[in-house]
Assembly symmetry: D2
Homo-oligomer: 353 residues x 4
């Protein structure tokens, strides 16, 4: 269908790049933003690749404790400055915002320095392992929700965002069910350092439960088992929210068939569900079974779009001078829930909040 | 799962950018290629956006008969040179390859000039409306298959490519069925200029039928009807291939539920099918029905990945000095089939090839 | 949910057998009908089992040329009379209706004798191999449509009947696609005796095409191949109907994954499709694929309900003194289409009707 | 495919009624069994209709406290004897087995009388509201498992039975999830009499959890809410089994989209799930959504086959002189779990068993 029209006509009819961002490969935002990325490990690279698709975002600097990684990344993405000391970034007056993608133990200190350097901040979750420290941060910076966005990226996944937008279709919600299972268990080393399944893995689902229920937890119960590691790697969490919604989360460190990410909400007028994404759309019909592809392998593929949408939401909030859509307060609440799960598992009782 | 590891370790463990292109947002190829794009209408913009995600491709120049469009595009993508006369591009010695995205009537002349300027060429389909002209081109340039790739992008769609790769699972193929329906009929002006449904729309499916059957047509029959325009807009094509496979293609200029793109192949040991992609993965369970989302709206979304894979295939063929995977010869064969369909419809008889 | 209510209350609240036939296991009709079944082979047994679930139908006699089979069947179903000569049935004055389930070559003679004995008749398709003979029958008995129902059972399948009832949802139909594939090829002996794929197998689909299109064919084209037998066992049929609808039927004598029965109708306002039934509703998620069950094995299972609904339609027509919903005329039209397919295949040309 | 073969041949080739029960409409068992049904309310009628499809089962007598209902039922099914006093049934020496379908409060007394009259017994669940009474019954009759089968019909549903049979495919099970939601809430009167959601509704799922886990519960937690009635009508149950499996059950008295019945089991080598059955297999593709049919309306339709299979299992156990597949012991265990749920909800704590 590309023949026979003058290019200009065709262009303006079908592909209105000037007006609307219909091109899914390269993204446009109105504001030109100068940014820096701190921490260039896996999640840092994910954010860099996503940021690079925005034409009006200029990545001015990166930093990592590994000089090779910092240098290689700068070259790979044609970024003018690279550092091993992240504090060099805060010296640069012309940087508007920083992406904090370092290990969790650095988050809080870096966030504070960034706030004091007057940068907008995107910080990966968890903000800190200790919810008391998050509480302190909130206490010190009263305008924090306008300055710091925390990376609960699943809120920005197109599927989950569409659920949130259409919740009223099911009337009054009564049951929320969230499934979140990783494809394979992490290394023993990772597990030890991770802070446990609730703070490392369930925290995303606890945030999703708050996001969908639009309420706060009243009762939390967790049961679990150890199947792949010497730490709890399989768990069922039950939450009763203040508005009466009851919620079940199931997490497993292993789902051999891929990254299992589901959500369903029952209401008095119906149900909405989000089903898994498969790798492809083939079905093989054999003598014994109908075979289709396994699920997307892991979060990098499953939540690829969420990283793009998260950046858009970050920029929109700045432009419109409104609160970020996932804040330090959200980080605190999720952290408190994760701690309650841990306590429930250990003490074998219902935790009342 | 991003806490607790040193960034370097994490990076090399999970995100081996150096070795393999697992990052789906930004693409890497080994060769640095300098290219130019001719024709900046809808399809030209699609290719530009796809080309821009390749780090080692340098887009050196663009041209379009509209000076505004050429200038705007160059600015948008930071491309050094822009022209209104495409021949200026062939003067640039340092350009390795050109992307011909102009209207069909310009294709053949531009391809010849590009060949004579010693550029590699990617040309959008159809190569020409007249299959005799394509035949002449093939006769003149004996090494054409190493120099010219024609844009049958669906061959590179991950789903269809996966079918091709797994055909042996179903044994000997006996029936191929292809569905291809546009979401809405084009304007009367477009229809008139398009050369008719077979050369404009079915040609993709005729190429797919050859690609999957790995054979040439022996008999072609087309029946059709006019429902939305004063030209045939709904058609059933039947092909009998030399290897015995029988094939049905159904095309419609209108499918109100989205861009319907399906394929199935029956063999003596099973069946493989490619199902449609939906816009999202939600299901709404109401009192009266279970509702899920409609299909991807059109080719831009449905075949987004195919444009990326097509570029990879173009570059790989150059690197490995092998024939392009979709050639002038393929363009000729598809064009002959489209002409046979038209003849069958008009003359109400089976066309024997 | 069965505790605590008095049985009577509960019964009338939930299980209104008196008023509506909500019980799917045992069926009620208002008329008491005395019937006989002629021919106790496979299809005869299917009808017997279905008839036996109707409480108000009394099966008074059966006949088969095999005395053992006749005797065994009578004992199995507690039927008072059994014969080897079917004509004994027509002597019984108190029999209201006969089910003719004998081999095709007996159909026409038995139908005539039944008509002359003043019985209502249900006759299995095809009515006769020669469409001229069917035409003669129609000419002789002008009220035939009120006396003879022909067993195009798929019209009564709940899925296909639901499609028929909701056709207006898709606006003006433009394309009909029918898939009908048997699970395994028949024996050479069966194939020889069957009258060929069009009269034996496609005839159901040709009737379905007429049923859905509500029009008569104008052009018929068939192409085919021989993969499993020395007769055509794989075919694509294309029909252009007088109302402009174009239709594709694909048939294969072998689909290793089960009995493949699909229908889809595209209209200017949408599409309706009937998907296959699987044996069960399990999915197994393994490391390599998601596996679900194959399709229902064959027509006995897939169309089980259609035999029940067919009987209901037979009785309703008698009660309401209206034409049967599938008549001798339908048998004739389907037979003419099957002959046209055969002629198209042999002569390699489009057949105009 | 019924033409051209002699009926006898055809019959023995395709329809081996003598050897195997491939006919799904009418069922054959080897033993001739004389039975009676006590209680002719909704569930009694369901069992009667299922029993009636077995050729070798003779229903000799029925009883109900309503003389009209007893009389009507006897006439409807041509049953020789009907009573208003169930004890008349136990006087009949030639009755082999009784089906107890009366309200729960009668079950235990009738079971005891039937045992003392030396009948085999099929009794609907729950056996009694008080688990102590069930324990007493078990204590008194040591051979009870060979004499009494309790109607946990879902164990015999072909889908759930297939899951049970293929559990080893997923390795070691780690998580079981059961969803069971009724289409609409019962009347206030029913709710009051039902004994609460756990004993009335969850008891099926508690039995399923035991059936699949092949273990006994160690911890039970229930949370719930009241949305439609003044009793708990929505609940999440969490069970930790002795073998380490963790299990979640979600129940709701209302699912506006139909009778929602799902099961999934995660193991270290994969997952098995049972999905819902829809009313039909149609999809309507409109401009705004893809619509398919809602779920089977209620248990009568969804579990229709289970009642047939349950009867087969009852008979097979008698023939093979083995324990019934769902026993008084199973009834006791499920009842204890239901009580634990109730206690957990009331006392807001984890119940340890």
């Amino acid at each position: 269908m590309n023949a026979g029209l003058k290019p200009g006509q065709e262009h303006f009819r079908f592909f209105p790049l000037h007006k609307k961002d219909t091109n899914k490969t390269i993204h446009t935002v109105d504001t030109i933003l100068k940014i820096a990325v701190i921490g260039l490990g896996r999640i840092g690279q994910i954010h860099l690749a996503a940021l690079k698709t925005f034409k009006n975002i200029k990545i001015t600097a990166v930093s990592d404790i590994s000089p090779e990684l910092a240098k290689w990344t700068a070259a790979e993405y044609q970024i003018p400055h690279f550092y091993t000391n992240y504090q060099d970034i805060f010296q640069q007056k012309d940087i508007d915002a920083v992406w904090i993608c370092s290990p969790t133990s650095y988050h809080l200190a870096q966030v504070k320095e960034a706030l004091d350097s007057n940068k907008y901040i995107f910080c990966e979750k968890p903000l800190d392992k200790d919810s008391n420290n998050i509480q302190s941060l909130i206490d010190i910076y009263p305008d924090l929700n306008h300055r710091l966005m925390v990376g609960f990226n699943r809120r920005f996944d197109p599927d989950f965002a569409a659920v949130k937008a259409s919740l009223k279709k099911i009337g009054k919600p009564t049951i929320i069910k969230i499934t979140s299972r990783d494809p394979f268990p992490p290394t023993a080393e990772y597990t030890r350092a991770s802070g446990g399944i609730y703070n490392d893995m369930s925290i995303h689902d606890l945030d999703m439960a708050r996001f969908i229920s639009e309420s706060e937890a009243e009762q939390v119960i967790a049961v679990g088992s150890k199947n792949y590691t010497d730490d709890t790697d399989t768990t069922l969490i039950t939450i009763k929210f203040k508005n009466g919604i009851i919620c079940n989360i199931d997490n497993s460190r292993k789902a051999s068939y891929g990254y299992d990410q589901r959500l369903e909400i029952l209401g008095d007028k119906g149900m909405i569900s989000v089903e898994n994404k498969k790798i492809n759309h083939l079905t093989f019909y054999s003598e014994n079974s109908l075979e289709s592809s396994v699920l997307e392998p892991f979060f990098l593929e499953r939540y690829k779009d969420s990283y793009i949408e998260e950046i858009k939401a970050f920029i929109t909030s700045i432009q419109e001078k409104k609160e970020f859509p996932s804040t330090g307060e959200d980080a605190l609440k999720a952290s408190i829930l994760a701690d309650a799960c841990e306590k429930s598992l250990e003490q074998k009782k219902i935790i009342f909040l």
